[in-house]
């Protein structure tokens, strides 16, 4: 008491203004403290403060998140301060779960942020693909890399065996749906309609912060098990009005095509003749074949294709090395973003319009992608206590897509079946009878049911593009309303209502046709299969409506017990509702269309086929508390507990609790006065542990009935049958004793900065383990059912991640910045339900992608050529061909053994040159491209001597089963490559990519003086630019995938080739 009186007695008043060094603007909310006393205040909206200080006080400490702290001596009554934006991580602010901004130094878990500049430098239209190679622990798979294509993102290997493995995606505090609904009947005939997380315009993004583990995202509860991607979009700045135009013009071309052989052309050997010498005496030069197993090129003019009205075309019998490459054209897209931002001390806004118009690499305008969007972010301050904000984004997308896979509409599958001498790229004229289906003959008769395309097994790719359509229209709204109330300065109440809703309407058009070959030559085998090319046609409408509503109420209570001991308590409630509605309807499956060319459900030949009509609703209510204790700013301890209640779980089991703790220790704060700080400027140790419970999909608890449908291998009997209606037992036995899945994760790590923060380094070791997975496991069909829903199975991921960056050189004119990251993740299926050895994630009959007990996640499982103990191929003594393994083999996982990214930025005067590489090492993929190009005899591996050679590195087994090296038993490549075991199409998926590069020129202040701009940057950029693959992969970009962003990865099932993009960029700010 006495002491206090003394203090009061000698107080004086100090005031001043705090401004930012960068623009001189006043800084509100800056903490002003008297050194050595527990007295302080904050600056107001105008950056001003007034403080009563004891006479003994000598210094004021000014600190503000994101800025370097400053100490000013108290001289007189006015003390002003100028703060500089912190260059080092010391003040780096990270958006953590529930949009809570925290200083990175206080976090007990790994996070990484990617800023706007890094994100947009490669000019990719996909914000998710732009993360590739930039973040440790994040595995990005970009599939075809065209605008609108899918991007899969997985942090630390994901947690789930059968469910979602992608992280939660949050935009401005609002969780958004990032699922990918693949088009087409299955991944064998898929159309990639993209994933909705890519709808946000990269130019609107201010930064992305990645919360890698369950601990980081624990406050999000169930959905956080896979980590979270937090996207913050741009906002207006106080006192500044800016108009920014960002324009990209991008060209695209195919990144990688298979290596071809250029020695043999159309035709085949009539009988397998493995020991014959390498000539072609028994070959058939069938001008109507899709095989390139014919004789060696002679260059002589020879007939090819079908004979029409007695006339056959001829051409030189020689290789056309670029026939497939020249089929494609150069894609072009224009992307514009016009942003206006402004702000005063009472509020700010950011308004942006964006458009993207792309016409891809197909020789037509049937691969179009158009996106138009508008974003508005605004907030206003009603008073010091009350703030309101709104975020809104609308995207409208229309696209026309080309299908993957092996259906008639699978373009790549049709194009790959082109012998090396066929000028497929010159067959675009569908009025030419030799290229066309249905034509007018020399007598003027319309031969509508005949075709002249040269082969009987594939469709003319130009005809496919013209006649099949896969159209998509999407309207997507995301946004939120925020209210912020601060009744007293230590309490903040925030309420947010967020919505994410989209409507995705797809139309799939398949033409009706029935053609037989026009070929009138004598020995044609074409018309023995009556109606060699025929399709009843179909029209399908797939409609998906997904909406998710999130309501968050969060109370933040801060209290400083002393200047050394501070607390932050968060209390929150989240209510979430997710509705989905899918309605898939097509013309009658077997009847197809009545009138060709009329694509309407009214044109159904037979009852309209309702493929799916389903709506789901799921609700969750969560409550959480999160307490952070900070001691002297260098020791932070955070603990949280959350309770979730889910509508999808049994009522007696629907509520579950889970905790998390983490701690951070900035040990260099204790070494400040030692010499070490000259070298090690910042050092932090961190550790975290978290448990997260997850629920499941709706309607897993009870067994139901469905409409009567009896499937044959390809056809089906369906109800109603005339007037007879029917139901049948459902396929899955429900389980009303389900309990939540449990993910436990822990991690340790460190962050170290050297040489005044010029070099930074971070390391993390983590383990995530998910038990009691809710799985729908196959049970014997003899039970009368197909699946049983159970709690079983355990998946574990452990790994390390490293990140390093350094400012190598920094002078006034010249700078070199480097960055690198490395991730090694090992996944393992630790347990599966009793009696189940593996769960199939994808694949097809003969090749499965599985989660198998004791194996890494995503193993390929197929029959391959058998090998002896020394890895030599065992052949059949009579045919010379490899003997297949008797059972399917595990052939590796699609997950890489390790992945890395590295990059450099050079600045010189007004120029900036930036390049970012990424690599994955050690995964595998299944390539149907390899299989098919081998089958038709076009791939490089089918070249060279085709007969009269022993199978490379082969042995046969003698009577006692011992390997005998084979030098004398020959094999026929035609026999081998036209019947490859599925396992032989597993290819090393390792690669190194020049992920992105850019060179830009920015006008300096002096140059801008005479111009009406405040900033002008022009540049060239590229993404997915160059690809290096191991010698064994002569086929595809390992990132291509036929099934989008789901768990079925590494699956090149005749997936369309990926593209490289490159273009010019203009960025102007007024």
């Amino acid at each position: 008491m006495l002491c206090a009186q003394q203090l009061y007695a000698q107080n004086r008043t100090v005031s001043g203004v705090v401004t930012a060094k960068e623009d001189g603007a006043p800084l509100p909310g800056v903490s002003v403290k008297v050194r050595g006393a527990n007295i302080g205040t904050q600056t107001g909206i105008d950056g001003r403060y007034t403080l009563s200080v004891p006479s003994s006080a000598t210094f004021l400490d000014f600190s503000f998140i994101g800025y370097s702290s400053v100490a000013m001596p108290i001289k007189g009554g006015a003390v002003n301060a100028v703060l500089t934006i912190s260059a080092s991580q010391l003040g780096e602010v990270v958006v953590t779960a529930n949009n809570v901004k925290r200083e990175k130094r206080t976090l007990g878990y790994a996070t990484q942020s990617v800023g706007s500049k890094e994100l947009t430098m490669g000019g990719s239209a996909s914000p998710l693909s732009s993360l590739a190679g930039k973040v440790a622990g994040l595995n990005v798979t970009s599939t075809s890399n065209t605008p609108g294509s899918s991007t899969r993102i997985v942090l630390r290997g994901g947690t789930s065996i059968a469910g979602n493995n992608q992280p939660l995606m949050v935009i401005d505090g609002v969780p958004v749906d990032n699922s990918s609904i693949i088009g087409g009947a299955s991944s064998l005939t898929a159309v990639d309609f993209g994933n909705r997380g890519n709808d946000v315009d990269p130019a609107d993004i201010d930064n992305i912060s990645i919360l890698e583990g369950p601990a980081a995202a624990a406050r999000y509860g169930a959905r956080a098990a896979n980590g979270a991607i937090m996207i913050t979009t741009k906002s207006g700045k106080n006192g500044k009005t800016e108009i920014t135009l960002n324009s990209n013009n991008t060209f695209s071309s195919i990144l990688k095509l298979p290596d071809w052989q250029n020695e043999y052309g159309q035709g085949y050997m009539s009988t397998s003749n493995n020991n014959s010498v390498a000539d072609f005496t028994t070959g058939i030069d069938d001008g109507s074949d899709n095989w390139s197993w014919g004789g060696p090129f002679t260059g002589k003019v020879a007939p090819w294709g079908q004979t029409i009205a007695g006339v056959v075309q001829s051409k030189p019998y020689s290789a056309l090395p670029n026939n497939v490459k020249d089929f494609f054209s150069t894609g072009f897209s224009t992307e514009n973003n016009l942003g206006i931002s402004s702000g005063t001390d009472r509020g700010s806004f950011y308004l942006a319009l964006n458009s993207l118009n792309s016409n891809g690499i197909m020789p037509s305008n049937k691969d179009l992608f158009q996106k138009y969007g508008v974003r508005f972010n605004g907030n206003t301050k009603f008073s010091d206590k009350f703030t309101a904000g709104i975020n809104f984004n609308y995207s409208k997308i229309s696209s026309s897509n080309i299908a993957n896979g092996q259906n008639a509409n699978g373009l790549w599958e049709n194009l790959l079946q082109t012998p090396r001498d066929i000028p497929v790229d010159k067959m675009s004229d569908l009025n030419n009878p030799y290229n066309a289906y249905g034509f007018t003959d020399s007598k003027g008769v319309i031969r509508s049911k005949q075709y002249g395309y040269y082969n009987a097994f594939a469709l003319n790719p130009y005809w496919v593009i013209q006649n099949f359509s896969n159209l998509d229209n999407v309207s997507h709204v995301t946004g939120s309303f925020d209210l912020n109330y601060k009744p007293v300065k230590w309490i903040n109440v925030e309420e947010r209502l967020g919505i994410d809703t989209y409507n995705d309407r797809r139309r799939l058009l398949v033409p009706k046709y029935s053609y037989t070959a026009a070929d009138e030559s004598a020995n044609s085998a074409l018309w023995t299969g009556a109606g060699a090319l025929s399709n009843n046609g179909s029209y399908e409408i797939d409609q998906f409506n997904v909406s998710e509503l999130n309501h968050d109420l969060m109370v933040t209570i801060t209290h400083d017990f002393s200047k050394d001991f501070k607390t932050l308590l968060l209390l929150g409630n989240n209510i979430r509702q997710r509705n989905t509605n899918s309605n898939l309807t097509s013309t009658n499956t077997s009847g197809g269309l009545v009138v060709p060319g009329w694509y309407n459900l009214q044109n159904s030949n037979g009852p309209v086929n309702v493929i799916t009509d389903a709506q789901t609703i799921k609700r969750q209510v969560g409550f959480y508390a999160d307490l952070t204790l900070t001691y002297k700013d260098f020791l932070t301890l955070e603990g949280s507990i959350r309770n979730d209640r889910s509508s999808t779980l049994p009522k007696n089991n629907y509520s579950y609790y889970y905790p998390s703790v983490n701690g951070a220790f900035v040990f260099t704060d204790l070494l400040k006065d030692s010499g070490i700080s000259n070298i090690l400027s910042y050092g932090k140790l961190r550790a975290s542990w978290a448990k997260v419970g997850s629920d499941t999909d709706p309607y897993q608890l009870f067994t139901t009935f469905s409409k009567g449908t009896i499937n044959g291998a390809f056809g089906s009997t369906t109800f109603p049958f005339g007037n007879v209606a029917a139901l049948q037992a459902g396929s899955t036995i429900g389980n009303n004793t389900l309990k939540p899945e449990q993910t436990t994760g822990y991690e340790f790590g460190t962050e170290l900065n050297f040489l005044a923060d010029r070099i930074t380094f971070a390391f993390t070791y983590y383990v995530n383990d998910t038990k009691d997975q809710i799985l729908s496991i196959p049970i014997p069909n003899s039970t009368g059912y197909g699946f049983n829903v159970v709690n079983a199975g355990e998946k574990r991921n452990q790994g390390i991640q490293l990140y390093a960056s350094g400012m190598l050189i920094k002078t006034r004119d010249f700078g070199v910045k480097l960055n690198a990251n490395f991730t090694k993740n090992n996944s393992k299926i630790v347990a599966l339900p009793a009696g189940v050895s593996q769960i199939v994630i994808g694949g097809f009959n003969g090749m499965s992608i599985v989660a198998a007990k004791g194996h890494p996640y995503g193993e390929f499982y197929a029959v391959a050529d058998s090998k002896d103990a020394q890895g030599r191929t065992i052949i059949n003594k009579s045919t010379g061909l490899p003997i297949p393994t008797t059972t399917a083999q595990y052939l590796g996982t699609y997950d890489p053994k390790f992945q890395a990214g590295w990059g450099a930025e050079f600045t010189y005067s007004n120029f900036t040159l930036d390049a970012q590489f990424s690599m994955k090492h050690g995964g595998v993929l299944y390539s149907q491209t390899k299989d098919l190009s081998a089958f038709v005899g076009t791939s490089a591996e089918t070249g060279g001597p085709r007969y009269g050679q022993p199978f490379p590195n082969s042995v046969y087994l003698d009577a006692s089963g011992n390997s005998v090296p084979n030098t004398s038993i020959f094999y026929s490549k035609q026999d081998y490559y036209t019947d490859l075991q599925p396992g032989q199409n597993i290819v090393d998926a390792s690669y190194v990519k020049l992920q992105s590069a850019s060179l830009s020129y920015t006008l300096n202040k002096r140059q801008l003086k005479s111009l009406p701009f405040t900033n002008l940057t022009v540049g060239v950029f590229g993404n997915n630019l160059f690809l290096w693959t191991p010698k064994s992969n002569k086929y595809v970009d390992p990132e291509v995938n036929a099934s989008g962003a789901g768990n079925e990865q590494g699956f090149d099932f005749a997936a369309l080739p990926s593209v490289r993009n490159y273009g010019i960029n203009l960025k102007v700010t007024f």
Partner: protein, 483 residues
């Protein structure tokens, strides 16, 4: 917004979260809605998967050299996974739904249950005839037995007789509700169902003629003591040309995957025999080949499995009458015969020939009725000339001395009647009796000299998911009743 939170609170939470009732699928089904599924499922199996296997292994049909879909069937070289779909259809479409009908609760459901028991008996007979020992006692109870054990075929047959008897007893109930048109086979005609039950019982007992003749004889004699009526009409669903309601094989062939490619063509095994007997039915079972340029329409067949030696050759396809002509829409309305009238007469003829009918019935009359029924079904006109002149006509029966020779004549004629319509049953009769004697090994066989397909393989789905899986039996090992 704040109000929303308050309203929910902790107490309102339970109600707010009570939204897990599935709105997309009903949680119960009445027997009138399950019965059509069971009947259509049996027809799908008999008329599609087993139709293809049966007609190829009974050597009516073989693979077209110009296409490749069924080469492995002619090769007798099948993966276990080839039988995943038929097994699934049998257990999850036919049997489980029939079983649910037999267990349904409610008044006056006897006719539904009776028909369901007969469907269950019929489907289990199909299953065991194809695969041998199969799950029965622990089957169709997924929530109790997740790994059903395999019951010996002998016991499966015991259960089949029990199901038929239960069915007959229920059908005999007076005053139960008629299923009407929800019964897709006989539209609720219980007299026809009773004949069906008796004919099925006769078929099932005759199946044991080799493995357990005493039981077969006793069972058939007991049956004849009830003065049974037998089928005089085909038991079949009437398919239509509406998409999804067509003949299942035609529906399969016109699927986008098979795209109307004609995979099935005439096998010389059957065609040569029809020709040797100057049988007018041959031009009904197969289509003449309308040559593109030539003037002569011919019936062309190739030896069973000889697609490799006949590359480029045009071969006659089976006709729309049997539903197997891919590019003729008339195939859509071809019937699937679960039991045909002709078969009914030949079954009775065989029982009489074996002397198991307590003296009831005349073998020659029944034989003639069988042939006549077949001629009627194919629209081949009057069989009188054929019966009198064909070597396989009446002479074959009347000159037969031993029981075995009589059975040979009957089964051989039955074989001709079943062409294209009942391939599985014809192959099954051959497996039991060795008749007809003119089947040859497929030219494409991969299983070694002298070996023929005698069973289907257990499906891969059982191998991978059933802990009670008994191991795969090779395709040439006969099932119990054929041993």
């Amino acid at each position: 917004m704040v109000g929303l939170v308050t309203a929910l609170g902790f107490s309102g939470c339970k109600k707010y979260l009570d939204v897990n009732q599935n709105p997309n699928n009903p949680d119960s089904a009445t027997p009138d809605l399950l019965l059509p599924t069971a009947e259509a499922a049996v027809s799908q199996i008999v008329g599609n998967a087993f139709q293809v296997y049966g007609n190829m292994w009974a050597q009516y049909w073989t693979q077209n050299p110009g296409s490749s879909q069924y080469r492995t069937i002619d090769q007798y070289n099948l993966a276990n996974s080839a039988f995943d779909r038929p097994w699934l259809t049998l257990y999850r479409s036919a049997l489980v739904n029939a079983d649910l009908v037999t267990k349904s609760q409610g008044a006056q459901l006897e006719y539904y249950k009776g028909i369901a028991y007969l469907m269950k008996a019929y489907a289990f007979q199909l299953t065991t005839d194809a695969f041998g020992d199969v799950p029965l006692t622990q089957a169709l109870a997924g929530s109790v037995y997740s790994a059903p054990k395999y019951d010996p075929q002998k016991q499966v047959y015991d259960s089949i007789f029990v199901y038929i008897d239960k069915g007959i007893a229920l059908i005999n109930t007076a005053g139960a509700t008629s299923p009407g048109t929800q019964d897709m086979i006989f539209s609720g005609n219980m007299t026809s169902w009773k004949a069906f039950a008796n004919t099925l019982k006769l078929r099932a007992y005759l199946r044991l003629s080799k493995a357990d003749p005493a039981k077969a004889q006793a069972g058939i004699q007991a049956l004849y003591q009830t003065s049974p009526t037998f089928l005089t009409v085909d038991a079949t669903i009437k398919f239509t040309s509406t998409g999804g309601n067509e003949n299942p094989l035609y529906n399969e062939m016109t699927s986008p995957t098979l795209a109307k490619v004609q995979n099935l063509v005439a096998s010389s095994t059957a065609v040569n025999q029809f020709n040797a007997n100057n049988d007018p039915r041959v031009n009904k079972f197969y289509d003449l080949l309308v040559d593109k340029v030539g003037a002569v329409d011919t019936l062309t067949s190739i030896p069973q499995g000889s697609y490799a030696a006949n590359t480029g050759k045009k071969v006659s396809p089976p006709s729309a009458l049997v539903g197997a002509r891919a590019d003729n829409p008339a195939s859509a309305t071809a019937p699937v015969k679960l039991i045909s009238a002709a078969e009914s007469y030949f079954l009775q003829a065989e029982a009489v020939a074996r002397g198991w009918t307590n003296g009831t019935g005349n073998v020659t009359t029944l034989y003639t009725q069988g042939v006549t029924a077949s001629f009627t079904a194919t629209g081949a006109g009057d069989p009188t000339t054929y019966l009198a002149t064909a070597p396989a006509g009446l002479t074959a029966l009347t000159t037969a001395v031993t029981v075995n020779d009589k059975v040979k004549a009957i089964i051989t004629q039955k074989y001709f009647a079943m062409c294209g319509f009942q391939g599985f049953e014809a192959w099954t009769d051959w497996r039991r009796t060795g008749f007809p004697t003119f089947l040859v090994q497929s030219a494409a066989s991969t299983i070694g000299a002298g070996k023929m397909p005698m069973r289907m393989l257990y499906p891969n789905s059982e191998l991978t998911s059933n802990a009670s899986y008994p191991g795969t039996q090779p395709i040439n090992i006969p099932v119990w009743w054929a041993q």
